[in-house]
């Protein structure tokens, strides 16, 4: 969230500053100090930046900004530092004048590492803390908040006096609290205020500071007492939020399992085909997304944000038609021999994996996240990442749609009729072979759609399907074969159970325990969570 916000703000800032800079009557940046950036090793950069910052000249802001963005270069021949944005004209860093007649081969990049970037950001923040632009001030406060260094205390206090925005006021107060709690010279009153402030801020950073504070031996008992109570309060609220967070993680893992399994709930659950190629259908969906994004990148870069929406129907079609072909070509000869479908579909899965490997190569393919699926939302103490949120919503949507198709459409009715009593359905005029083929295609198509969503969080490689196939079978069987609700509840239960075990047992043991749980559960309910009942089952 922060980083996303920062990036946005930073780029806005760049434009604003660049504009204000050009029209400004501020004195130019000190040329000598700017050009010094071209000299020396990485280790000398922090000192160079400090020297620039010490001038308190706003003209250095675009220079530092360019350094952060990796757009600062120097001329190989004379060491003049220039800003070379990815698009647009090059600028002389010291004077801000556009340069012409230079090409990139005559430039050498000025390297920056994390530390340099961090220092540059702090330097910019100090200069923009009192900027008239709200966004700039926000970014500045965030940067100083993160660093929480005593030397910025006076600057922050200064800024606090003049700040008008109430939200930013609070943030400033929090930043000041963070710093003054570490400040040995702070007055008792300031400490009290800081403790209260941090208590309301909450979170790990505040907690750690308060804990460190209580361990100090140069503080008065009242403050120590207050800090201890604040620590307790924060710990308690964090524990509560922690449970909520775990539930969220569990649901989110559950939604991934649900997506992976839902197509299988049709092909395996409803039709009884032990479809080992199910994972490969998911893989096809993911590769479809990759191809769609490739085409968009090369031909229609403008619609990248919609790439997933475009990929969805295509993935459904691609996986669906492969499924259709599979049913027509192979599976229809195997009805009544469910275990042999395992063999044939395993063969199909090998062929599909190798086909994808031959066409696309064995390495991972890059599938990008659209902007709206990046970042995170904070909800109290909960951190909800956007892509997980979308995937959860999407999984539920797919589930609901499938339910509607099965329950409310003619095709769904025919499908259920065929799976329940093939002969009866046939004698009633239902074209059972086509219903079979389309049911299988539907299940495969759904798996393809799942692949689009899973491409956002997983490797897109020929092995993609193999990573999900076992979990998918576990979910369907745990939920009860032939019951969509079972798949939903099964996926969510396993997801949440896994995530609650993980903090105690570690990721590996949690997974083992979940598997053992499934084994034991099946002993208790040999037909899964939502077993079909009645005499029909025995037949």
């Amino acid at each position: 969230m922060y980083s996303k916000l920062l990036q946005l703000v930073a780029s806005a800032l760049l434009v604003v500053v660049a504009l204000s800079f050009q029209s400004a009557h501020a004195e130019p940046a000190p040329q000598q100090l700017v050009n010094a950036l071209a000299t020396g090793k990485l280790k000398q950069k922090p000192a160079q930046i400090e020297a620039l910052a010490a001038t308190k000249n706003p003209a250095i802001i675009p220079v530092l900004q360019a350094l952060i963005e990796g757009e600062l270069f120097y001329l190989k021949n004379d060491g003049q530092v220039v800003i070379a944005p990815q698009s647009g004209p090059m600028i002389d860093a010291a004077t801000g004048k556009p340069l012409s007649g230079l090409n990139k081969s005559s430039l050498k990049k000025i390297k920056a590492n994390n530390k340099v970037r961090r220092i540059a950001r702090a330097a910019i923040a100090k200069l923009t803390l009192q900027s008239p632009v709200l966004a700039e001030r926000q970014a500045a406060v965030e940067a100083l908040f993160k660093a929480a260094k005593p030397e910025s205390l006076s600057l922050l206090l200064e800024a606090q006096k003049n700040e008008t925005d109430p939200q930013l006021q609070t943030r400033l107060a929090q930043a000041i609290a963070l710093i003054s709690l570490q400040d040995k010279a702070a007055t008792a009153k300031a400490q009290q205020a800081a403790i209260a402030q941090l208590r309301s801020l909450g979170g790990q950073q505040a907690l750690a500071l308060l804990q460190a504070f209580t361990a100090r031996d140069d503080i008065a008992p009242q403050e120590k007492e207050a800090a201890t109570r604040a620590v307790e309060a924060i710990e308690k609220s964090m524990a509560l939020w922690g449970i909520g967070q775990n539930v969220w993680y569990g649901l989110s893992l559950g939604s991934v399992l649900l997506l992976a399994a839902i197509g299988l709930a049709i092909t395996f659950g409803v039709m009884g085909i032990i479809n080992m190629a199910h994972g490969e259908m998911v893989m096809l969906g993911a590769y479809t997304t990759f191809v769609v994004q490739e085409v968009i990148r090369s031909s229609f870069p403008g619609v990248f944000e919609y790439s997933l929406a475009i990929a969805l129907p295509l993935a459904f079609l691609v996986a669906g038609s492969v499924g259709f072909a599979m049913e027509r070509g192979i599976i229809r000869f195997l009805y009544g021999r469910p275990l042999e479908t395992l063999l044939a579909t395993w063969g199909v899965s090998l062929v599909l994996q190798q086909a994808v490997r031959s066409i696309f190569g064995p390495t991972n393919k890059q599938v990008g996240n659209p902007e709206w699926m990046s970042g995170a939302y904070e909800l109290g103490g909960l951190m909800l990442t956007a892509n997980r949120l979308w995937i959860l919503a999407f999984a539920l949507l797919v589930f609901a749609l499938l339910l509607v198709v099965l329950r409310r459409t003619r095709f769904g009715l025919q499908m259920r009729a065929v799976t329940q009593n093939r002969r009866m359905a046939a004698s009633m005029g239902i074209r059972t072979p086509w219903v079979d083929a389309f049911t299988f295609a539907l299940g495969s198509g759904i798996a393809g759609i799942a692949g689009v969503a899973l491409s956002q969080i997983a490797n897109v490689s020929p092995n993609l399907g193999q990573t999900y196939i076992i979990d998918s079978f576990m979910v369907v069987v745990f939920g009860g074969v032939g019951n969509l609700w079972g798949t939903l509840v099964g996926a969510m239960t396993l997801g949440v159970a896994n995530k609650f075990l993980e903090p105690y047992a570690g990721a590996v043991l949690a997974k083992i325990l979940t598997l053992v749980f499934i084994i034991l559960f099946i002993q208790k309910r040999p037909r899964g969570l939502f077993a079909q009942k009645g005499r029909a089952v025995e037949a």
Partner: protein
């Protein structure tokens, strides 16, 4: 159902088939055979296929230069399918049936461990191109990838010095390489004065895909007011979801940098690196190395694969070095006879791609520079640090009590991979 006569016929037929199918193809022209033992299917294909292609390119190149000792080199490619016992079987096939003169291959320690006895028994030569945990030195194996002291320790040094990191998360996949590396690192960090509670060690299974909990733990661990870094020995497949989760939970490299030992250009090709800018990796080679030799190598590679987007990576350079070393050693020995080549290899020096020379040490490890790179938005690394000189691979770590007393020297008179300096004896078998 079957009568015995028919059965016996079938049995002898299948036995015949078995013999013919493993006896391979005899070629008319006299060639020098080079075995390539990399998985082309299964879970490891993702990394190893590239190395197979790299080897084919190197061999083609050498043949264009006129071959070796006046003969053409002939690559023999087999697919061990990421199946460890199959590695041993295929190694045996390469050595016993195809009679190759050297084998370039394997990725992961377990595959190497699986073939070790085969190379020992049939006296072959194996070049292993991947970074590994060390703790091994075998007469028939030449380790061209990094030992822990050629990757992990310099990376930690960089973070200590440049980022002033005080808290450490050692996150890895649960297998030998991360376990050993983390053990070495923990010992090293403690020696540097890092407290126990400032080190968090976490292991995950292979192919771990749900990183929500662990990433949020890392985040919590890192927001305690001390500068925190993650040292990642997370393996292959699990990296993509790990980095995606890092990006989504908003952990930027400026807050908590992650330094990885198993993430190279090839792995990044499967990722949107925009949110990962600034995370680090330590290798002995990056595609972004600015040397003429490297530019030439990259151009050749893109040309060979007919794909301008193909990237190069560290294990490819390791094969490049290893192959050239072998060629030089064969020329030096004047034959491909295994024992003389093994002897000739020690001390051979060939140019590496980062502008220096790599030398084969008596412990069958090589000297290399160590580079630290930061991930860029274009999927490449920007080199932010480099060791001053070359670092020689250390087979036995000085930070593990039991291995500190071992040394390896395959030159006469010692000729031992695990000589115990305390007991003055060559431990174990050998």
């Amino acid at each position: 159902m079957l009568n015995p006569k028919k059965f016996l016929k079938a049995a002898s037929l299948s036995a015949m088939l078995a013999t013919t199918l493993v006896s391979g193809s005899a070629s008319a022209e006299e060639t020098i055979k080079v075995g390539i033992l990399h998985s082309l299917s299964g879970t490891m294909a993702i990394s190893e296929t590239t190395l197979k292609d790299a080897m084919l390119m190197l061999i083609e190149d050498q043949n264009a230069k006129g071959g070796l000792l006046g003969k053409k080199l002939e690559p023999v490619v087999v697919d061990p399918a990421s199946d460890w016992p199959l590695f041993a079987e295929k190694a045996k096939e390469l050595l016993a049936v195809h009679k190759v003169d050297a084998v370039f291959g394997n990725w992961t320690s377990v595959s190497r461990k699986s073939v070790l006895p085969v190379f020992e028994e049939l006296n072959g030569i194996l070049f292993y191109p991947v970074q590994y945990e060390g703790e091994e030195s075998q007469r028939n194996v030449f380790y061209t990838g990094a030992a822990p002291n050629q990757q992990a320790i310099p990376a930690v040094d960089y973070l200590l010095e440049n980022e002033e990191v005080e808290r450490w998360v050692l996150a890895g996949t649960d297998y030998v390489y991360p376990r050993t590396t983390n053990k070495i690192l923990a010992a090293y960090l403690k020696a540097k004065g890092v407290a126990d509670e400032d080190i968090m060690i976490n292991y995950t299974p292979f192919g771990h895909s749900d990183w929500q909990t662990i990433v949020s733990d890392i985040k919590a661990f890192g927001s305690a007011g001390k500068k925190t870094a993650v040292v990642s020995t997370i393996n292959g497949d699990a990296n993509v979801p790990f980095y995606k989760e890092l990006g989504n939970q908003g952990i930027s490299a400026e807050d908590i940098p992650v330094v990885a030992f198993s993430v190279g250009e090839e792995e990044l090709a499967g990722l949107d690196t925009e949110p990962l800018v600034g995370h680090l990796a330590a290798w002995n080679y990056f595609q972004s190395v600015e040397t003429e030799a490297n530019y030439e190598f990259i151009a050749k590679w893109k040309d060979f694969t007919k794909d301008i987007n193909r990237v190069t990576n560290d294990p490819m350079e390791a094969h490049y070095i290893g192959f050239n070393m072998w060629v030089k050693a064969v020329e030096k020995a004047g034959s491909t006879e295994v024992d003389s080549v093994i002897d000739a290899l020690v001390g051979v020096s060939v140019p590496n791609l980062s502008g220096g020379y790599s030398t084969m040490m008596p412990n069958h490890h090589i000297t290399k520079p160590v580079l630290i790179g930061e991930i860029q938005a274009d999927g490449q690394f920007e080199i932010v640090d480099q060791t001053d000189g070359l670092v020689a691979g250390d087979a036995w770590s000085d930070y593990l009590p039991d291995s500190a007393k071992l040394i390896s020297d395959w030159r006469a008179p010692l000729s031992c991979g695990n000589y115990n300096v305390e007991t003055k004896s060559c431990g174990g078998d050998s």
